[in-house]
Amino acid sequence: MGNAVIRFDQVSKRYEGGHEALSQLTFEVAKGEMAFVTGHSGAGKSTLLKLLALIERPSHGHISLDGQSLAKIGQSGIPKLRRNLGMVFQDHRLLMDRTVFANVELPLVIGGIAPLERGRRVRAALEKVGLLDYERQLPASLSTGEQQRVGIARAIVVKPTVLIADEPTGNLDPQLAVEIMGLFAEFQQIGTTVLVASHDLPLIKRIKKRVIVLDHGRLVADVAAEEVL
């Protein structure tokens, strides 16, 4: 695949204590592609995403992101990498004492964007997730689904080339889960590469995107979007 944005090459991850979370994992995700990573608990889904965000380093193998080898990124380069990576978490990871606006604005403040531009982009991101009217509210006053959408707005506000999400619908009812996945599919359509870790097989089948199946850290299936039943 010539235009791969995410590339795993023979990647293994062994934690201290000997547990092997990933083993000899090789796959690529193309620019503008959306893929699910699925498998049972402990299959290695979260570890895979942690390796991409440099929360963990691989024990063996090579990972590249948007043409950049992650092995060459030192400790001081990690913040810059993460600023160009949209991340969505199952538990939202919102700052509960800040307004919705302030939460979404945070990556732009970190990125050094001017205040006027920040305001414009935060409102654009909130509009995309349907929460423009909620910008002055605190996250605690929102439903779980709305909080997740705030988390998504925070991830997309930096216009990332790659968006990764770890069980983003884990706490949502089926209807909301479909809505959130629909949002990810829309970001894919504008050229963002989207990688979503989820164990929700019925939902994955419904969205009909490429599916990478892990089992005990090994790649056991890589199903193209058109082959998803």
């Binding site: 913040p79 600023r83 970190i110 990125g111 509009e127 995309k128 349907g130 959408r149 829309e186």
Partner: protein, 321 residues
């Protein structure tokens, strides 16, 4: 939910590279405002911390104020006090006048007044209880006395030299001055000055520790937030900056409080000190804290706060990493 519609603006990294200075300034402005908001969000805790630090800083200030006033009192009582030179009883008026003129030429002497035996007798007779006894005397036993007024602000060494020289003059029987107790006072003031320095050092350390501990607790309670910031690309400096500003705010506000307390102490002392000054015919110049010190204390406290926050946040954030 509306469809995605990416704006045609430059990517974030390009934009921030073009405006590094304003970006740096905005980061600092954001961190300063953010840390102030955090302080305001827990007013009781913040005020208590500031009060403890303010009191710690006010104590050496108050001691310094007390010491400078004691020094001023010492100057008024001692250094500029008249030195009484008692001449031998065989010295006549002409001898007294000659010696007075000679002493007037001496370094550190402002004026010399000659008091005759009769004037001394008149003074004594005005004192209650002396009058009858003095009438019983056949002749006046009092000698000529020279009242030597040293110049204002004369140093202790010059004053001592003056007294020694007066003692060695011909016809002088006795010189009465306050040299011994002045030396004791100077020694005590020296101890006091050193104690102020030690106290200031100890209380500065206390301020450092209070800020450090407050920041440590703050970082611990915000571990989740720090984790989120790191995940969305915040550098270590960005994460640490609000805590450094918190240290600066704590220091600055406590410094202002300390200055306010010191000024309050000055006001509380103003009346009794004014009365004391009147007793010494205005010779007692009791001052407050100098303006430079009133400005320096909040600045120094802010620097101390920053230092405490920096030391602890570097260590605590490394542990959290």
């Amino acid at each position: 939910m509306s469809a995605p519609n990416e704006a045609n603006t430059p990517a974030r990294s390009e934009r921030s590279q073009r405006r590094p200075v304003s970006s740096w300034r905005e980061h600092h402005g954001w961190s300063a405002a953010n840390s102030l908001r955090r302080l305001a969000s827990k007013p009781v805790g913040s005020l208590l911390t500031i009060a403890v630090m303010g009191l710690a800083l006010a104590l050496p200030l108050a001691f310094y104020l007390l010491l400078s006033n004691v020094q001023s009192l010492g100057d008024a009582l001692g250094r500029n006090q008249v030195v009484n030179v008692f001449l031998k009883t065989d010295q006549v008026a002409s001898n007294a006048q000659l010696l007075a003129k000679k002493i007037e030429q001496h370094d550190g002497v402002a004026s010399v007044t000659v008091k005759s035996p009769q004037e001394g007798m008149d003074e004594l007779s005005k004192m209650q209880g002396f009058s009858d006894s003095l009438h019983a005397l056949d002749n006046n036993p009092l000698p000529y006395v020279l009242l030597v007024q040293p110049q204002d602000g004369i140093s202790a060494d010059t004053a001592n030299q003056l007294v020694d020289d007066l003692r060695n003059e011909q016809g002088v029987d006795m010189v009465q001055d306050s040299g011994t107790w002045r030396q004791r006072l100077d020694a005590l003031l020296g101890v006091g000055n050193r104690a102020v320095l030690i106290l200031a050092g100890l209380f500065a350390l206390a301020v450092l520790l209070v800020v450090g501990n407050t920041v440590r607790v703050d970082i611990t309670s915000r571990a989740d937030e720090i984790g989120v910031l790191k995940l969305i690309g915040a550098s270590r400096a960005f994460v640490r900056r609000p805590y450094l500003y918190a240290g600066i705010w704590y220091g600055l506000f406590s410094g202002i409080l300390a200055v306010a307390l010191a000024i309050a102490i000055e006001f509380a002392l103003a009346d009794p000190v004014a009365r004391l000054s009147q007793v010494y015919e205005g010779k007692l110049h009791v001052g407050g804290l100098p303006p430079w010190l009133l400005l320096a204390v909040p600045v120094a406290a802010a620097v101390l706060g920053w230092l405490g926050a920096r030391l602890v946040s570097a260590w605590q954030l490394r542990r959290a990493a």
